[in-house]
Assembly symmetry: C2
Homo-oligomer: 278 residues x 2
């Protein structure tokens, strides 16, 4: 079965899917995206992803888009893909126009998607955890909007791989720890979950919100507050969270071992609770 793409209403094999070279997503990074995964043919937290997609477009003053049309198209490509567990990537750009920084007159967005079989982390990675490095956060100032301004994320991820780690964690001024290259970050100190508060410097992660909801439901104490690299290195547990990341334990950060090696007790409980919601 070929992997499928959707381009402005048409579905085709991914390798046949193209966009005009003057798409503003290509020449200005003027595009937003979402990544949605399904379990047993049911898209997980679809409404939350669509709400964030709408917010991203609103924040950037995109042309108005009918979200029901988007929703139907997402369900259609999940269906046509036919995977029990599938990943749908959605990208919407401000449209196509001769290159000019100013917004074009046209109100025609470009709307593309791909669907593939879910690319999950192995049980082994979830059990054993990964190593990460920290890198200075040099991304732009609106990382709360899910745009394709991702070059620095890609550079940081590659730097991590080149150094023998698996991913990188962004650190802002005063060594404040922000998030991963495609995930949010949590630490656990004295049985309490701690994560960076929602500011323009981090993505309002849907899995992040889901985990905080789990904490509320199960009376697990949590704090949304700033913490620095010293607190990170000394944490009892640490993990990355995200749609495909789920709860991915960190066992080493900049060479500092975290916890006892492998997934910690609270992280394990949260991963199980998250999967229980799927």
């Amino acid at each position: 079965m070929p992997e499928l793409a959707y381009v402005n209403g048409n579905i085709m094999p991914i390798q046949d899917a193209t966009i005009p070279i003057e798409d503003r997503g290509y020449q200005f990074g003027d595009a937003v995206y979402e990544y949605i995964t399904s379990f047993n043919k049911r898209p997980f937290l679809l409404d939350e992803h669509l709400a964030r997609l709408k917010r991203s477009m609103t924040e950037l003053s995109f042309p108005l888009v009918d979200m029901d049309t988007i929703r139907s198209a997402v369900l259609e490509i999940f269906d046509k893909g036919g995977y029990d567990n599938g990943d749908v990537y959605i990208q919407i750009s401000r449209g196509v126009a001769p290159r000019d920084h100013a917004f074009p007159e046209s109100n025609e967005i470009q709307f593309i998607m791909t669907v593939r079989e879910t690319k999950r982390y192995s049980d082994e990675m979830h059990a054993n955890g990964i190593k990460v490095i920290t890198v200075e956060d040099q991304r732009w100032g609106r990382c709360d909007i899910k745009t394709v301004q991702l070059l620095y994320n890609a550079l940081a991820k590659q730097k991590a791989l080149d150094s023998g780690a698996y991913d990188a964690v962004f650190v802002g001024p005063d060594n404040v720890v922000r998030e991963g290259t495609s995930s949010n970050l949590f630490i656990i100190v004295d049985q309490t979950l701690i994560t960076h508060p929602l500011t323009p410097n981090i993505l309002p992660g849907i899995t992040r919100a889901c985990l905080l909801q789990i904490c509320r439901e199960r009376s697990i104490p949590f704090q949304e507050r700033f913490f620095d690299t010293n607190e990170l290195y000394a944490a009892d547990e640490a993990f990355l969270s995200g749609t495909t990341t789920e709860v991915l334990p960190l066992i080493e950060i900049d060479g500092h071992p975290i916890g006892q090696g492998g997934i910690g007790a609270i992280s394990k409980k949260l991963l199980a609770a998250l999967r229980n919601k799927m």
Copy 2:
């Protein structure tokens, strides 16, 4: 005559030119660009643009590219375009691969260009100048690399237009004035040209370098140093510089009038000297 595009060796009308949706330039902004203009069929400062393009690719660890091939293709599309005065836009991305932050194994870059008749500013704009506003610089940390991480530039340009100005100027911490949304910035104080030094926060403009060379040749004093908004508002003259911008005078910044209205004496001399080199 149709406006032409070049895509990986093939030339076609722009509206027929497409790239795969999984081009990393589209999904990660993982692409660099140049903009070259010709006068009387002669590309201006071609070697300098190609050198900067090569530097951009090197800084981002792009696959190695034969610059002679790039050069020949640029000359070919200028020629096929047939304009006496033409603008060639070049964009090179890291290539096409299933979406993943890490660099792909493949060493195949994507190389696209467009050619159009030159879009110059009118004599009136050069004579009368423009109004600009300042905006906080929220771009990423490597603005010295000419990438398509340009969403914030586009937002700032649109904000300027919406507020009745023509362009925006980025201001960093401590109110240090950096550059325009697609140009460098100079001020003139007591007959001396002042411009932001080359750091990761500004583009190493080719017109900027050409103007400093003119200063050397003509013994016009200049300083590459930081200056803040107070010094900007109080400047005797101010202008933006760039490939299509040339020397574009600023007559009002955040509502503060600059100079006597219209192009100042030194700016006028520099514009004439720049055009003399074309």
